[in-house]
């Protein structure tokens, strides 16, 4: 499967990165990690790129990491459609100390606007 995993440095996106890389190692997915600029994330883009490359190296797979500039949600939807990806994978949302899950604006935009199937990682 041709998978585009969009991450921006939030905790849930880093979990999505880990699981997507692990799955690619088993399933042989053709994986691209799109590092987006999430204004709510506490980690800088360069650090997210470094972590993505480290995860790929640790899993021993061949995957691409690329910096996605511009509006994160719309760019991910565009890239997936124009480059023929089968699936977009995103973090599954932030969980408050209360245990409530909330979905961020990037995931909301992708869910509502993407023709490509979307997976949220829990």
């Amino acid at each position: 499967m041709h998978v585009l995993c969009g991450i921006g440095g939030s905790d849930d996106s880093l979990r999505a990165l880990e699981q997507t890389v692990d799955r690619a190692a088993v399933a042989g997915d053709d994986l691209t990690i799109g590092v987006v600029e999430n204004p709510n994330a506490e980690i800088a883009v360069e650090e997210v790129i470094r972590r993505a490359e480290a995860a790929i190296a640790a899993a021993g797979i061949d995957a691409t990491v690329r910096h996605v500039e511009g509006d994160p949600g719309s760019r991910l939807v565009d890239i997936a459609e124009q480059e023929g990806f089968d699936r977009i994978v995103l973090g599954g949302g932030h969980t408050s100390p209360m245990g409530k899950i909330s979905i961020g604006p990037i995931a909301e935009f992708v869910l509502l606007n993407s023709n490509t199937s979307v997976t949220l990682v829990r």
Partner: protein
């Protein structure tokens, strides 16, 4: 993290539990602070274990008894505030304040058997009474946009919409005057904040 806006005005005073009243169906209800006994804990588990899944919101209460216990273990701790509505030895409802970085998140659940009888309003007021007594300053919650009944209940209590960007509506309330420096910025011109 994005900013959450709180009302400038402090909410009115709320009554503190224990509170007893007769609900809209003629049942005797008592609202008490959670007492951490095993019997209370098991009664809460029983309430959530039979809770209608279609009334779940954003993943809580979780499904299945073991997940319910895990979740309760996380929110029935000393740093949280928990208030329970009792009816003849069973839990009719439960409301909780759980601290995050700067404030407390509120959640309230009334079991299907006891809904639409005025218990939720008394329960949330009882919880906020405890919160006020404990010196809590800021409370927030999220609610589904379509849940007009809940939104108007929160508005009646004094919650104001604080963020409309997400799927869910976020609302906030100021329970007590602020004592910390960052929140006193608004008062900096008159220097009277203590």
């Amino acid at each position: 993290m994005r900013e959450r806006r709180y009302p400038d005005a402090v909410a009115g005073r709320f009554e503190t539990p224990p509170i007893t009243f007769t609900d809209g169906e003629g049942r005797e209800i008592e609202i008490r602070e959670y007492d951490d006994s095993e019997a209370s804990y098991e009664a809460l588990v029983a309430m959530y274990d039979s809770f209608d899944p279609s009334d779940r919101a954003q993943g809580i209460p979780p499904g299945g008894e073991s997940r319910v216990r895990e979740w309760l273990d996380a929110i029935l701790t000393d740093d949280c505030l928990n208030v329970v509505a009792w009816c003849a030895g069973s839990v009719a409802g439960h409301a909780t304040l759980v601290p995050d970085d700067e404030a407390y998140e509120l959640a309230i659940f009334v079991h299907q058997t006891y809904q639409r009888a005025g218990i939720g309003t008394r329960l949330i007021r009882g919880l906020l009474g405890c919160g006020q007594a404990a010196g809590i300053e800021q409370v927030w919650l999220t609610v589904e946009r379509w849940n007009r009944a809940a939104v108007s209940l929160y508005e009646k209590i004094g919650f104001e919409t604080s963020n409309t960007e997400s799927f869910e509506l976020e609302m906030a309330l100021r329970l007590n005057e602020s004592t910390d420096d960052t929140a006193a910025e608004n008062d900096s011109d008159d220097g009277s904040a203590e």
